[in-house]
Symmetry: C2
Subunit: 190 residues, 2 copies
DNA sequence: GTCTATAATCTGATAGAC
DNA sequence: GTCTATCAGATTATAGAC
């Protein structure tokens, strides 16, 4: 079961997200394509398992990338670590990025269970950024736009390179300054 | 010929970029699928025509969105117009955004002619931003990351809405401040 | 749990009549 | 320039033997 999902990742890394075929997949696990239906009811269900596994990997990755004890002593460093962690997670596996964060495979909807894990991952990221002062929704949206923009440009226009990765610290400084200004503005109103 | 490409856009808007089939396309233009080969040598050539048409539309769109006489009297307003123009071009047709700015359809390489038009479009954008003070490559890269990030988040997480579009002016102010600071730093070194 | 057989359908592309 | 006929293969999925 885990072996099939692992082989499915191999296939989509070679042939693109839409290029997953049961024959190809079966060949890779030493089975006939039809035998896979003993494990998964449909191709859709395989995508769903990949989606779930991807978000679990994302949670683990971010937990490792960020030191949750340090944020209040060094908020700038913590923000840089978090954004760098996110961008590197995305660039380390472009097709996973596509499945998890873009809506590019038509007709695919994650199952309730998978969706719950995805929401948990978002909530963890939201909380982490909130500690760093990114508390309101518009500010958070601006951060996610910047983070996904860095990741997607790195993937599309300089795969394997560091052209956009190099801009992470500068982007974080910029975002933190912006967030501080907008927090002042709000507290002044109070 | 133009009618076929137009119908091809219809198909991919309904079935996704990878979901273009010759039979489906033929049906839509009142032809047998095989007759399309009198106009295009392959399905690949149809994607290429769409790619070309997309970049021509991008050039026209940006020419309309930005007033090239005003940038020196009102750089902030001009920058806002340019970024807003870009994001609205992307969100107005997500699948076109996918074909033009992401590398999501495996095996597709634009023809030399189409690629030339794409490069022309990039060069025009580069020049426009240079007038606004975005002259060095890293700063330009930061802008493209922010712009594509706003567009892709709007498309993926709030299709049809304005959640990220609303952040454009704030993002531009943030980027302009950052660009100004980094220009100062460089001229101080001289 | 894996196999064979097969259904039912789709795919891009070519040959040749008209 | 559009058609019919067709190739040669792909696709997901099901039924039933072992």
């Amino acid at each position: 079961m885990a072996e099939i999902v692992s082989a499915a990742w191999e296939v989509v890394r070679e042939h693109g997200l839409a290029g997953l075929s049961m024959r190809d997949l079966g060949e890779r696990v030493g089975m006939r394509a039809q035998s896979i239906y003993s494990y998964f009811a449909s191709k859709h269900d395989i995508y769903d398992a990949m989606f779930l596994e991807g978000y679990e990997a994302f949670i683990d990755w971010m937990d490792s990338a960020v030191d949750d004890d340090e944020p209040e002593t060094d908020p700038v460093g913590s923000a840089r670590l978090a954004v760098r962690g996110f961008v590197e997670f995305c660039t380390s596996d472009p097709v996973r990025y596509q499945l998890l964060f873009q809506r590019t495979i038509p007709g695919f909807e994650p199952s309730p269970r998978s969706y719950t894990v995805a929401e948990d991952a978002y909530e963890r990221s939201r909380r982490r950024l909130a500690i760093l002062g990114v508390e309101d929704q518009p500010t958070l949206d601006l951060w996610t736009a910047m983070m996904t923009g860095l990741a997607s440009q790195q993937i599309s226009n300089d795969p394997g390179g560091t052209r956009w990765e190099k801009l992470i610290d500068r982007a974080v400084d910029m975002l933190l300054t912006d967030a501080r200004d907008h927090t002042y503005t709000e507290s002044e109103r109070a």
